[in-house]
């Protein structure tokens, strides 16, 4: 039996639901024991785990310290979801007027300890594997858990939503209908759900950043503009889930 911990930081628990769904499989349950999963198990602390899924991005100093401590106690860390990989939707705050103290909500921490720009996990600790998605896909979790137990890992595929869209034989919404679609610059994994319903991809699996640079993203943005998206909309669209990568490629100015 491998010891499994499910850890959540700033995120919506959508990925956790997908993990739950994977844990309903008999063969997976037989091989893993849950040592930490606040949604399911009554344990506030755990000492060690072989494997941990960490959902969410790092938004406070406290989280950052907790993660560094976690790293010492866990053998293998899976960054789970686009938040953990690229910041997630909560990163949109970095582009606006960020004032945590003005919302009228009681703060648990000093506002100076709350990060304006949420950090992806790998900015804080060493990450062993990444599962993109908002949320991730339960099938990817199942595959991962089965292969990990057998002593292997799924091979990492770095391709775009277009790849899945084309393999499904879907008619491209961008080329046939002029609908702005982020598929060409978005990581695969969802199975091209949005185009299969005739709408454009929103980029929830995060920016497929390999081989891209600022100029290429801008030339794609130019294409979206041709299709009728105003300046601000295309920037918000491209950076919505992947702010951290977007900033790496284009800078944070807005």
């Amino acid at each position: 039996m491998l010891k499994l911990a499910i850890v959540k930081i700033t995120s919506c628990s959508g990925c956790i639901n997908e993990i739950l769904s994977a844990l309903l499989e008999d063969d997976i349950r037989a091989n893993y024991t849950l040592v930490y999963f606040t949604e399911l198990v009554d344990s506030i602390e755990f000492r060690e785990a072989d494997l941990a899924f960490v959902e969410g991005s790092v938004t406070t100093r406290h989280q950052e310290e907790a993660l560094k401590d976690l790293r010492k106690r866990v053998g293998f860390i899976v960054a789970t979801g686009t938040c953990a990989l690229m910041g997630g939707v909560q990163s949109l705050r970095a582009m606006g007027d960020f004032k945590p103290e003005s919302r009228g909500l009681p703060l648990k921490q000093e506002s100076s300890e709350i990060y304006r720009e949420p950090k992806p996990l790998d900015q804080v600790v060493k990450v062993d594997y990444a599962l993109p998605g908002c949320p991730i896909n339960a099938d990817a979790v199942k595959t991962f858990l089965r292969k990990y137990y057998l002593g292997g890992l799924p091979i990492a595929i770095y391709e775009t939503v277009c790849s899945e869209c084309k393999r499904r034989g879907l008619p491209c919404v961008l080329v046939t209908k002029g609908i702005p679609c982020l598929g060409p610059i978005t990581l695969s994994g969802c199975g091209a759900i949005c185009p299969s319903f005739g709408r454009g991809c929103y980029g929830c699996y995060g920016l497929q950043f390999h081989g891209l640079n600022g100029g290429k993203v801008l030339s794609f943005a130019e294409r979206l503009r041709e299709l009728g998206l105003p300046d601000l909309d295309y920037r918000a669209l491209i950076s919505a889930y992947s702010y951290a990568k977007y900033r790496d490629l284009l800078g944070g100015s807005h």
């Binding site: 393999r167 080329v175 046939t176 060409p184």
Partner: protein, 353 residues
């Protein structure tokens, strides 16, 4: 057209028909169950990054192609039990099938795939060996991104088919046999020999079709020489691929792209090894144990171009990897134009010379 189908059916013992099938949106390559499923009353309008179906009678092709049948996007090539016993090798007999209404460029693409995969790839080989008849629709009006004439793949066919037909207008078909089966089919259809009026018209229309292709490669051999000369110019390839975002659409729609990646799917009671289309423009391509041999996107774009025009001929005994169908131009979300780029190759070389 109906008669043609019926005769093939009679002669070849009830094969399935495979062709571009009209669906609710865009025709895709699939099984044709009745004549009403053929895209006879529509045309496609194709431009870089743009595709539309309108009323008409000149359907050329879509993102789909015979590759979808012969080398499908996902091929399960092995299924094993939890104790690693083989349950299924994934290869079954190919169905007896007639390709119906495929285009000259499609036929050429199959000839290219044959050279690379036939008797080597079990799934392709089984399906390919099941093809017992070929009916080609010649193109009297090429599509908006077609350039087959420049690469010697169309718009008409000379060999490798049983029957070819050309639609001189919406109602008039001119048929020609290309094999004994074809001659037999046409004979039992009781057709008259076409008068010279029609054959002259046909010749004129073919000439016009060739002239009307906007994209032209003036001289293929010169282009190949120029490509060879530019192969190691990083600056040139970076410039030419500046807008490419590596989405891979060009690979998947190309009727001759054949690369796959093996993906193992582990289930509760069995595991499958699935050969899955992978594009050389995507980052995974070139990623191997120990590193990556085409890390930059311009290197992958260069590989795509050089493979089509320089390396395929080495693999196929002379056939180019590009059949001029223009799909990669139409279905590129940015609308990058391969032929425009190749013309630039020639210009750069001219300037230097």
């Amino acid at each position: 057209m109906k008669k043609l189908m019926l005769e093939f059916k009679k002669l070849l013992g009830d094969p399935v028909f495979l062709g571009y099938k009209r669906g609710s949106t865009i025709p895709v390559f699939d099984e044709i169950r009745s004549i009403s499923e053929l895209p006879l009353e529509i045309s496609d309008v194709q431009k870089p990054g743009k595709y539309e179906i309108v009323e008409g009678f000149r359907f050329r092709h879509s993102h789909s192609s015979p590759k979808w049948y012969l080398l499908p996007p996902e091929q399960v090539i092995l299924t094993i039990s939890p104790s690693y016993d083989a349950i299924d090798s994934g290869v079954s007999e190919g169905r007896r099938a007639v390709l119906f209404g495929v285009k000259p460029c499609d036929l050429k693409a199959i000839a290219v795939l044959d050279k690379i995969l036939l008797d080597k790839h079990p799934v392709y080989t089984a399906k390919r060996r099941g093809i017992v008849g070929v009916v080609v629709e010649e193109c009297m009006e090429p599509g908006g991104t077609c350039f087959c004439a420049s690469v010697n793949s169309g718009p008409i066919v000379e060999s490798g088919f049983d029957v070819a037909y050309a639609r001189l207008d919406k109602e008039t078909l001119l048929l020609k046999p290309g094999s004994d089966i074809g001659r037999q089919v046409l004979k039992s259809m009781g057709l008259e020999r076409a008068s010279s009026e029609y054959t002259e018209l046909y010749k004129q229309m073919v000439g016009r079709a060739i002239d009307s292709m906007k994209r032209k490669l003036p001289d293929l051999e010169r282009a190949q020489r120029a490509l060879r000369g530019l192969a190691s110019s990083q600056e040139f390839w970076e410039e030419i691929s500046k807008k490419c975002i590596g989405c891979g659409n060009c690979n998947y729609v190309c009727p001759t792209c054949f690369c796959t990646e093996f993906i193992d799917r582990v289930g509760e009671n069995h595991a499958e090894r699935v050969a899955t289309w992978i594009g050389c423009l995507t980052y995974t391509y070139g990623l191997v144990a120990g590193g990556h041999f085409r890390k930059q996107l311009y290197m992958r774009y260069r590989h795509y171009t050089l493979h089509k025009f320089l390396y395929y001929p080495l693999q196929t005994g002379g056939l180019l990897g590009c059949v001029g169908c223009g799909r990669c131009i139409t279905w590129c979300p940015i609308g990058l134009d391969l032929i425009e780029n190749l013309s630039r190759v020639l210009k750069v070389k001219n300037v230097e010379a």
